[in-house]
């Protein structure tokens, strides 16, 4: 349990630093940035305390917001993603989620991809909607959501593959 806690804390800190110091400055094609820090919400232990999980997600988002000067948009997006996670887990992994004995590294690729895809899409959509804060920009919101999601998902899959041995 203790090593799990420690690895989550380290992951939290590393992801925040990685996001604000490197990933926020990529600006691929002008405005496309990956938001890799969602990985924390994806990987948080499935059986963990849900209230603590919600609070930690909020904390993660607000830390990014402080660096980005963006009010509370990342916090809100993380919070929504964390709140819908149990439903998405049930949707993607079916009955095995209720037994609480799955690990992301051991699941079939299709289920894993649908879980990651839906989580990232929801997070990014809330994030960009709140960033623009106006329906006039709906096309821009959808465009940003789509392209940034693709970028984020690729990075998440890459980092899951790269670091999968460690979490065994």
């Amino acid at each position: 349990m203790n090593s799990k806690l420690l690895s989550n804390i380290t992951r939290f800190i590393i992801l925040v630093f990685l996001q604000v110091l490197i990933l926020n400055n990529i600006n691929f094609a002008g405005y496309i940035n990956p938001y890799l820090y969602v990985l924390f919400i994806l990987l948080y232990p499935f059986s963990g305390n849900q209230s603590l999980f919600l609070f930690l997600s909020f904390l993660l988002g607000i830390s990014i917001d402080i660096f980005e000067d963006s009010g509370g948009i990342n916090a809100a997006a993380c919070l929504v993603a964390a709140f819908v996670r149990p439903n998405l887990l049930r949707f993607s992994f079916g009955i095995s989620y209720d037994h609480q004995n799955i690990r992301l590294a051991h699941t079939p690729f299709g289920a894993k991809l649908s879980y990651i895809f839906l989580m990232v899409l929801i997070h990014h959509f809330v994030l960009f909607s709140l960033e623009m804060f106006s329906l006039n920009h709906i096309i821009l919101i959808l465009k940003k959501t789509l392209f940034s999601s693709i970028f984020t998902i690729i990075l998440i899959l890459l980092s899951l593959t790269l670091f999968s041995k460690k979490y065994r």
Binding site: G61, I73, E131
Partner: protein, 274 residues
């Protein structure tokens, strides 16, 4: 009473979710609604420190470029000085230790810059300890950057001209027709000048400069050149796309401008009519 507690305990996650969501929405709305978001900004001890640390490393990679820019600017200033005929004024200016102009310049380094969002901010490594206050203008040698909006002891935050809430007075360089400089959030190299009267003679490539109507920027600082223009819905005002002289995606060192007479002018303007 028992039932209320049971209800609260059963739904504690949803309630926590709603409370935290309300907090983040509140922060977002506040950030959108006012010029100054009061609680959260990157000009604080922790994030300012981290940005300044990472920027210290980053700066070394761009030293060549900064040197070149400085040379260019020195060259320009030398040209101006050597072409002034009145040598007495130069000597007086060079000798005097006290500054007697209307504007006071300070240098600062940009330690964080974004341009990919709708509302962009920059963070500078100077703050109130160096005499920087809110509403000071920020420029580079090539053009304008933004306006300081939050300051703490060590760091300050600047509203970039690439921000949907930024509105800066600007005018054509060859006539005095003026308008407001805004940004539509699309291209970090292109900003818009709106509310320019239809009578203004426009030509592609004309220069846009700051107007002297605000107390923040001195008149005549270069901003950019006209890319294209069109009439707005009312058919009586132009909306002009301006290509910035400044590369907003690559800013190293900046000047912060203080208008020395600002308080006096404001006091005068506030005096009620009798």
């Amino acid at each position: 009473m028992q039932q209320i507690f049971n209800f609260l305990i059963r739904n504690k996650n949803s309630i926590l979710f709603l409370i935290l969501l309300a907090v983040s929405i509140f922060l977002t709305v506040q950030n959108h609604a006012f010029q100054k978001s009061r609680f959260i900004s990157s000009a604080n001890f922790v994030s300012g420190g981290i940005y300044s640390w990472s920027n210290n490393i980053n700066t070394y990679l761009h030293l060549d470029e900064y040197n070149e820019r400085l040379l260019e600017e020195n060259n320009k200033l030398r040209n101006i000085i050597s072409n002034i005929n009145d040598s007495i004024t130069i000597n007086k200016q060079l000798d005097s230790t006290s500054f007697e102009g209307d504007y006071l310049f300070r240098t600062a380094r940009v330690i964080n810059n974004n341009f990919a969002k709708i509302d962009n901010y920059l963070t500078l490594n100077r703050g109130a300890n160096s005499g920087i206050k809110p509403e000071y203008g920020v420029i580079t040698s090539k053009g304008i950057v933004g306006i300081v909006d939050r300051v703490n002891d060590e760091y300050s935050r600047v509203i970039s001209i690439l921000n949907s809430r930024s509105r800066i007075n600007a005018q054509l360089s060859n006539t005095n027709h003026f308008g407001s400089l805004v940004w539509d959030g699309k291209d970090p190299n292109i900003v818009q000048l709106i509310d320019v009267p239809r009578q203004a003679p426009l030509k592609k490539g004309d220069t846009i400069i700051t107007g002297g109507r605000s107390l923040i920027f001195p008149k005549g600082l270069p901003i950019g050149s006209i890319e294209d223009f069109s009439l707005d819905q009312t058919q009586s005002y132009y909306t002009i796309n301006i290509k910035l002289f400044n590369d907003m995606t690559n800013i190293g060192y900046v000047y912060v401008i203080e208008n020395v007479n600002k308080e006096a002018v404001e006091k005068l303007q506030e005096t009620p009519n009798e």
